[in-house]
Symmetry: C2
Subunit: 149 residues, 2 copies
């Protein structure tokens, strides 16, 4: 079983990985859930997502500005509960945000055929575990703060 | 790009795989979404899940009997929208259901330390795609019927 410090180090390394994908669960104000895999980026404080304008995830995040993301493998998982800080057209996003996203994902959402929407999400809770023996001690971030000790 | 027949064959093969896991999105009647990785089994018509009695997924499926499941990898994905046909204590589940689940997952939910809940889910829609070039033609099942042609 990994210590908390090991899990935080593994989680930070995962978040920095090129071509990082996440399973992104979002839900509508009428209570319909959605789930899709999406490329994501991490600027060391926020998750950056880019979605198509008409996509269910885009609509959900506009109305219910929260998401739950699953990263890694099903038996080596990082779960993130996050809140949407801001959503904006890719062309209106700060250049620094676009640069982080494009560098990590390998793709610039401003050159898509349709006007993609960029979302900045702040993680509130992060948990990481491999198998049942790591369920204990799985919480690495609570209320937006890494539990460094 | 795979044909529909190839995707159906790949999807059926995935569903039969030992130690199969899925990302299971569920949501509460008050509209809170949840997402966790879970072992699943497939009896050729229904998905079989087993969850702990107090788990968020257990509570959600009891109140909103639907789920969206992601299987495979983020760049070779099978997405399943499913409806809960029945949830029951593992000890009350038909032996055939337990046998299918235990054979595929390698674990019998009746021997857990806590009284697990077994859920039978009927897939309503199944989609499968690898990358953007396979978004077209991704629907393999609609309204519970495989689109064989």
């Amino acid at each position: 079983m990994r210590t908390r410090a090991e899990r935080i180090a593994d989680t930070r390394a995962l978040l920095a990985r090129p071509e990082l994908d996440a399973w992104v669960a979002s839900w509508s104000s009428s209570g319909d859930g959605h789930l899709v895999p999406l490329s994501i980026a991490w600027d060391d404080a926020r998750l950056i997502l880019a979605t198509e304008p008409g996509a269910v995830t885009t609509r959900n995040l506009e109305h219910v500005p929260r998401a739950r993301l699953g990263l890694g493998h099903t038996r080596d998982v990082v779960m993130i509960d996050a809140e949407v800080e801001e959503s904006m057209a890719a062309d209106d996003a700060p250049l620094s945000v676009i640069e982080v996203y494009a560098a990590q994902s390998g793709w610039d959402p401003r050159v898509a055929g349709v006007p993609f929407v960029v979302h900045l999400l702040v993680p509130v809770r992060i948990q990481a575990w491999r198998e049942a023996n790591e369920i204990e001690g799985r919480t690495l971030m609570r209320d937006g703060d890494w539990l460094e000790r």
